[in-house]
């Protein structure tokens, strides 16, 4: 470790760490604003909105005939979201600004929240690290809910003739599972890890818009409540793709889907926009684009997509709500609309959406590989260019979801070409990974195991995507279990495994506690083996003619379905093992984490654990990228201030 005496930089810019200011501090304790008041606000909001909807639309013919009031449901849920946000205090800052009252700036808020201890995790707070931890819990809530629903799906599919749930319930479960999982997956990395890590990785104290960031989390949880409300409403029958006009025909639960996506969409746009501006404008001095950690590049590309693609979903959802409440006919062909409109709007968002899910996973793998191979990231520029290329191209492939829909036939070869082309930058992660592994010294810690699994799984997912993009083969494999297995391999096999890698890797820094290695290894192997045993047979099931979302299937496919279901139950148990590891490592047998347990050169690891709320005592000056592993005489990553510069590598590490 080299030390360098540097000039005192305390007077420059916002170099010095802010101090918690006292007067006009917010109240703390039970009678201030927190999760409890959010719940109260939500309940009040729901009843007010529902009542208003009954007043407005109680006399409508369709309401009286069907017995279901979509206007009341919509207003009830919308007011619930508003009440939730108002209750937690998310609206205080903009409201104060509107009426001209001065309010605390972000630094003051962060300092105040840091003084609250564990309570700050139940509040609206502008500390990006708190928001990141809140997102971890939020994302896990979505994941376990969706996972239980998946177990129910596989239970139903054990037998083609005996129906555990019945056709209507089954479709409800399938739809809820898909929607909950997709809502989770859009934010699973950007939310927890993006928010927590990006400012640290770029040498910043905060994100660009801390209020927007906190707002995005509380909207995310409001979205969970809205989509969960589908269940008491009787569910919705369209699957997560929500095709119209079935969505226009559906029962009360459909509003939960449409509004849920709109609400989650607001959160996505907020989170994406915030991190986008943060990465562009809040990089520390010396953090040029070519020194940006690859994870930050991935988040940059993802946030560009979040910001640009999500508005389409929002508009699409809004039209759907109007069709169901105000009896417009955007999506109803017999009354002047078009069933293609929803499909195109949805997939125009939907395809960038799946890259919103894939890119952060690539970022995590790219970030972790050098640490555990002790080699620099191979072809860094190709990796970064690939991510931006994927993001750009993702807007030009959406019609491959509609090859057989009756689109203009000249579009089919065109979108086949663009979809094939997008697999080129998508494949760059393999070039980068393989190059980094070349003649490395691989430490198979739990995060690294998950990274290897990402390569294995995403390869299968990606290659089967090429099959799907080929229009003649698409005729057989679209709409069946083949495509289902493809996207589970890419999203679950890629993204979720990468998320696990990221959690095992960064939780020691985020919480100060190491995740138990033995349980982690068990978790990894059970998850990896049973994941593949669950989803690989589904390629065959799809080729043998079973469509998606069916409660009845051909008798000769029972054995394969049973096998897949059994493996799925074991996969579910592996998640229980993960939950146990979290519980065990965080609360039962705590192993305190050193500041840099993996010996990483990353800037986020050059901070003490726990990371102070101001992140860095001095804004660092970045000297090079964080991948100078196994390089004699490599420069330090950054100059952190007067006392010590950190991040220099030695040949021995």
């Amino acid at each position: 470790m080299t030390t360098t005496a540097l000039p005192d930089t305390s007077g420059q810019g916002s170099g010095a760490a802010p101090v918690a200011k006292s007067p006009r501090q917010r109240r703390s304790g039970l009678f201030s604003q927190h999760l409890g008041t959010a719940i109260i606000g939500a309940v009040i909001g729901y009843f007010v909105g529902h009542w208003l909807g009954n007043v407005i639309a109680g006399g409508y013919t369709y309401v009286q005939n069907s017995g279901e009031n979509a206007v009341a449901n919509t207003l009830g849920l919308a007011f619930m979201v508003f009440g939730w946000l108002a209750g937690v205090g998310a609206l205080n800052y903009p409201f104060a600004k509107i009426i001209g009252k001065s309010s605390r700036n972000a630094e003051e808020m962060e300092a105040w929240s840091a003084s609250l201890g564990w309570q700050r995790y139940f509040r609206y707070t502008a500390d990006h690290k708190v928001v990141g931890m809140q997102y971890v819990v939020g994302v896990l809530l979505f994941m376990f809910t969706g996972g239980l629903l998946a177990m129910a799906i596989r239970a139903e599919l054990l037998n083609p003739n005996y129906h555990l749930f019945g056709p209507g319930r089954y479709i409800e479960i399938v739809s809820e599972h898909g929607t909950v999982m997709m809502m989770m997956a859009t934010s699973i990395i950007v939310g927890p890890l993006g928010n927590w890590l990006v400012p640290l990785m770029i040498g910043s104290r905060r994100t660009a818009y801390p209020h927007v960031e906190a707002f995005s989390f509380w909207v995310f949880t409001a979205g969970y409540m809205v989509i969960f409300s589908a269940l008491p409403y009787g569910g919705f029958p369209t699957g997560w793709t929500g095709y119209a006009p079935l969505q226009t025909q559906a029962g009360a639960g459909m509003i939960s889907y449409l509004l849920g996506f709109a609400v989650i969409g607001i959160g996505m746009m907020a989170a994406g926009f915030n991190l986008l501006v943060t990465i562009i404008s809040y990089r520390a001095p010396g953090m040029t684009w070519s020194r940006l950690p690859i994870f930050v590049w991935a988040i940059l590309a993802t946030c560009a997509l979040l910001t640009l693609a999500t508005p389409t979903l929002f508009a699409a959802g809004l039209f759907g709500i109007l069709d169901r409440t105000a009896q417009t006919a955007f999506y109803v062909a017999e009354h002047g609309g078009s069933s293609y409109l929803w499909q195109n709007l949805f997939w125009f968002f939907g395809h960038p959406e799946v890259y919103i899910m894939a890119l952060p996973g690539f970022g995590i793998v790219g970030e972790l590989l050098p640490v555990f191979t002790r080699k620099p990231l191979f072809a860094y520029k190709v990796a970064a260019a690939g991510m931006m290329g994927v993001a750009l191209l993702s807007f030009f492939v959406w019609q491959h979801h509609l090859f057989q829909s009756g689109i203009n036939p000249d579009m089919r070869p065109l979108f086949m070409l663009t979809t094939e082309l997008i697999s080129i930058p998508t494949g760059f992660i393999f070039l980068v990974g393989m190059g980094t592994l070349y003649k490395a010294k691989i430490r198979f810690e739990v995060p690294m195991l998950f990274c290897m699994a990402v390569f294995f799984n995403f390869l299968i997912g990606g290659v089967t995507g090429v099959f799907l993009s080929d229009v003649p083969v698409n005729v057989t494999v679209h709409g069946g279990f083949f495509v289902l297995s493809h996207f589970h391999y890419t999203i679950m096999g890629g993204l979720l495994f990468a998320f696990m890698a990221g959690l095992y890797y960064w939780l020691p820094k985020m919480t100060g506690r190491m995740m138990n290695k033995k349980i982690g290894i068990w978790h990894f192997w059970t998850m990896f083996i049973f994941f593949n045993l669950t989803f690989f047979p589904m390629f065959l099931i799809g080729l043998l003619g079973q469509p998606r979302r069916v409660f009845q299937y051909a008798q000769n496919l029972q054995t394969l379905n049973e096998f897949s279901s059994m493996a799925a139950f074991c996969l579910g148990l592996s998640f229980l093992l993960f939950a146990w590891n979290l519980l065990y490592s965080m609360f039962i047998k705590v192993e305190v984490a050193p500041a840099n347990p993996w010996n990483s050169l990353g800037l986020e690891w050059q901070t003490p654990t726990p990371v102070p709320y101001y992140n860095f005592e001095r804004i660092p000056v970045i000297l090079t990228d964080p991948y100078h592993y196994s390089e004699d005489g490599a420069p330090a990553v950054a100059d952190l201030g007067v006392r010590v510069s950190a991040g220099a590598s030695t040949a021995a590490t």
């Binding site: 013919t61 369709y62 309401v63 009286q64 005939n65 069907s66 017995g67 279901e68 376990f144 809910t145 239980l148 629903l149 129910a152 003739n161 005996y162 129906h163 555990l164 749930f165 019945g166 056709p167 209507g168 319930r169 409800e172 479960i173 269940l231 008491p232 569910g235 029958p237 006009p245 226009t248 025909q249 559906a250 029962g251 109803v332 009845q552 229980l576 939950a579 146990w580 519980l583 065990y584 609360f587 039962i588 047998k589």
Partner: protein
């Protein structure tokens, strides 16, 4: 607390949390199973089965009282809202449907033909209240777009259909006169003192299996295309013929 004690609490807590989550999801909302009526218990092998049902305009009770529904007469004579019927395999079923609902045009007039049942015909007897006003007539085709005529009981359109798509069975059920003041207005089951049509037909059950049945009339009022609500909910306008070996 020692590590071991904490671990024990943790295990219990984890399973309790999982149990609570499962109960909330599957105990409160996504419940399993649906009611069914077993016609094999009181049935002698080789003999035909009598299956009697009603189709009503509004069930009158339960979570959706305004929804259209079928109700079935159990072997003990009581009526129940259950749309899954367990029947013996390879057995003749004599089905009687008391149709109480008014009707209109089919979305596809093809379902106005009687198909997949014995002689591809059904026998229809029409009642204005308890007073027989038409039939018994053997009917093999109903025009759901016919101009309504009070003197022609079969011109009121189609009220509902009984169809088992995977077996090719489809029987249109003539509607009652929608202008009549004597339509069923009570909760199901409706009495025979209000307007109704009695439709009788027979079919043979196939080998064991689960055969969904449904209605093809757009009778889910207030829903787009009339195919939402009760049309798309089991126990109302759709169910299963659960055919078993006896």
């Amino acid at each position: 607390m020692s590590v071991r004690a904490r671990a024990a609490v943790g295990v219990v807590g984890l399973f309790a949390a999982a149990g609570l989550a499962i109960w909330i999801l599957f105990g409160l909302f996504l419940t399993t199973g649906y009611p069914s009526v077993d016609f094999t218990k009181s049935h002698t092998a080789g003999q035909p089965v009598d299956l009697t049902v009603q189709t009503v305009g509004a069930i009158g009770y339960g979570p959706h009282p305004t929804w259209v529904s079928y109700v079935v007469k159990q072997p003990n004579g009581t009526w129940i809202q259950a749309s899954t019927w367990t029947l013996p395999a390879h057995t003749l079923v004599h089905m009687t449907i008391y149709q109480y609902d008014s009707g209109g045009p089919l979305r596809n007039q093809f379902w106005g033909s009687v198909q997949g049942v014995t002689n591809n015909a059904a026998t229809v007897t029409s009642f204005a209240g308890s007073h027989q006003i038409g039939g018994p007539t053997s009917v093999s085709l109903i025009d759901s777009n016919a101009t309504q005529s009070d003197s022609e009981p079969l011109s009121n359109g189609v009220g509902h259909t009984f169809a088992v798509p995977t077996l090719g069975i489809a029987v249109p059920l003539p509607a009652v006169n929608g202008n009549s003041s004597n339509q069923c207005s009570t909760s199901a089951p409706c009495p025979t003192t209000v307007d109704h049509n009695v439709v009788k037909f027979s079919f043979e059950t196939p080998g064991p299996g689960n055969y969904p049945w449904q209605c093809f009339v757009p009778c889910g009022l207030g829903y787009l295309f009339g195919n939402g609500g009760g049309m798309g909910t089991i126990n109302y306008m759709g169910g299963f013929l659960n055919v078993v070996n006896q």
